[in-house]
């Protein structure tokens, strides 16, 4: 029991650390645009080779930034659902095994 509590607090601390690492840049780097790193790569490519034209376009492009973020949110939510289901299942199973033994 003690071990489980310890794991919980260690994990909580680590997650807090991740949140801090993610938020800090917003305060350290003032007046930055926080666009995608790939957008900057595009600029760099055009700087190196001004004549380069992408020779292929995405089949479907999200109609707007809002719809794009909707799709990304769905991806994250779906993934999180599977992870959470898995942990729930494993926890239930481990408790059942404890009761039996």
């Amino acid at each position: 029991m003690l071990k489980e509590k310890k794991t919980f607090w260690i994990n909580a601390g680590l997650i807090l650390l991740v949140v801090l690492i993610s938020i800090l840049p917003l305060f350290i780097v003032k007046d930055a645009e926080f666009g995608g790193a790939d957008g900057e790569a595009e600029v760099a490519i055009t700087e190196i080779n001004a004549e380069y034209e992408p020779w292929f376009e995405p089949f479907i492009e999200p109609a707007s930034g809002e719809i794009e973020s909707l799709l990304f949110a769905l991806q994250a939510a779906g993934g999180a659902a599977v992870v959470a289901y898995g942990f729930g299942y494993l926890k239930g199973r481990s408790q059942k095994e404890k009761k039996v033994s």
């Binding site: 071990k3 489980e4 794991t7 260690i10 994990n11 680590l14 997650i15 991740v18 690492i21 993610s22 938020i23 800090l24 840049p25 917003l26 350290i28 780097v29 930055a32 645009e33 926080f34 666009g35 995608g36 790193a37 790939d38 957008g39 900057e40 790569a41 595009e42 600029v43 760099a44 490519i45 055009t46 190196i48 380069y52 992408p54 020779w55 292929f56 376009e57 995405p58 089949f59 479907i60 492009e61 999200p62 930034g65 794009e68 799709l71 990304f72 991806q75 994250a76 779906g78 993934g79 999180a80 599977v82 992870v83 898995g86 942990f87 299942y89 494993l90 199973r93 481990s94 095994e97």
Partner: protein
């Protein structure tokens, strides 16, 4: 007349890209159409043997223990979540983690070639993030180099008697970072600078991708430790069956 309009549109779109106000925000992976055809094809061909090895490895894992299917699904889902979240970084731009280190450490690197390819295909088809023509190059960096690096570094750390959490952290973090170093190398090979060649381009792309990725790689390392901790708590037996844990409760 129509031709002229087209031409104007073309000039306008080039201008948009050059001034960095391109409306579509692609991915942190190499963008659709941004690798010359020969490179696209080469990277795709290189990926094929890894992908096949991944399928075989996956089949073997499931055949050995049906229960590992659940953890396999969770590992894939973890990669889905992490690669959907774009996070601000110290360079003033955003990127996202890969989430492939976890699976590589638990199941070996080959499985992730398949799982990573699924994630990338999903994003390329539905989100215009990455691309079909650059899929090979992106699979190579995120689903092949990243996992192999994560697995190798994890094993090395364990051999050097590092504690398990540290080995997991180092593996996942460096796997993430090396994914984007690979992306930078791929771009600089395809776009050598006129002055300074591949090296000059490499420095430029590393400055964009690898530097941005550094804090995110640390985050990915920490999150991977969280997941491994939790898995150990609830499913020590499951991990032992995977052959990843020795009997003393340590991932070997």
């Amino acid at each position: 007349m129509k031709n002229k309009v087209n031409k104007n549109l073309q000039i306008l779109s080039v201008f948009c890209v050059m001034s960095g106000i391109a409306t579509s925000s692609y991915g942190m992976h190499i963008m659709e159409g941004f690798l010359p055809p020969l490179w696209s094809l080469s990277w795709s061909v290189i990926c094929i043997p890894f992908f096949i090895a991944g399928l075989l490895s996956m089949k073997k894992i499931i055949n050995e223990d049906k229960k590992s299917k659940l953890i396999l699904a969770m590992v894939g889902a973890f990669a889905f979540v992490l690669s959907a979240l774009k996070v601000p970084s110290v360079t003033g731009s955003c990127s996202h983690a890969t989430g492939v280190g976890l699976g590589a450490i638990l199941f070996g690197p080959m499985v992730m070639a398949v799982i990573g390819a699924i994630v990338l295909l999903f994003q390329a088809l539905l989100l215009a993030h990455g691309g079909i023509t650059t899929l090979g190059a992106n699979v190579f960096s995120m689903a092949i180099v990243g996992p192999i690096a994560a697995y190798g570094i994890y094993k090395l750390c364990r051999k050097l008697k590092a504690p398990q959490w540290l080995a997991v952290f180092m593996g996942a973090m460096l796997g993430d970072l090396l994914t984007y170093v690979t992306t930078s190398i791929q771009l600089s090979l395809a776009f050598p600078a006129e002055v300074g060649g591949v090296e000059a381009s490499l420095i430029k792309f590393l400055g964009i991708f690898a530097l941005t990725q550094l804090p995110l790689a640390i985050s990915e390392g920490l999150l991977t430790v969280v997941v491994v901790n939790s898995l150990k708590k609830y499913s020590e037996q499951g991990l032992i069956n995977l052959g990843r844990l020795s009997k003393e409760g340590k991932i070997c």
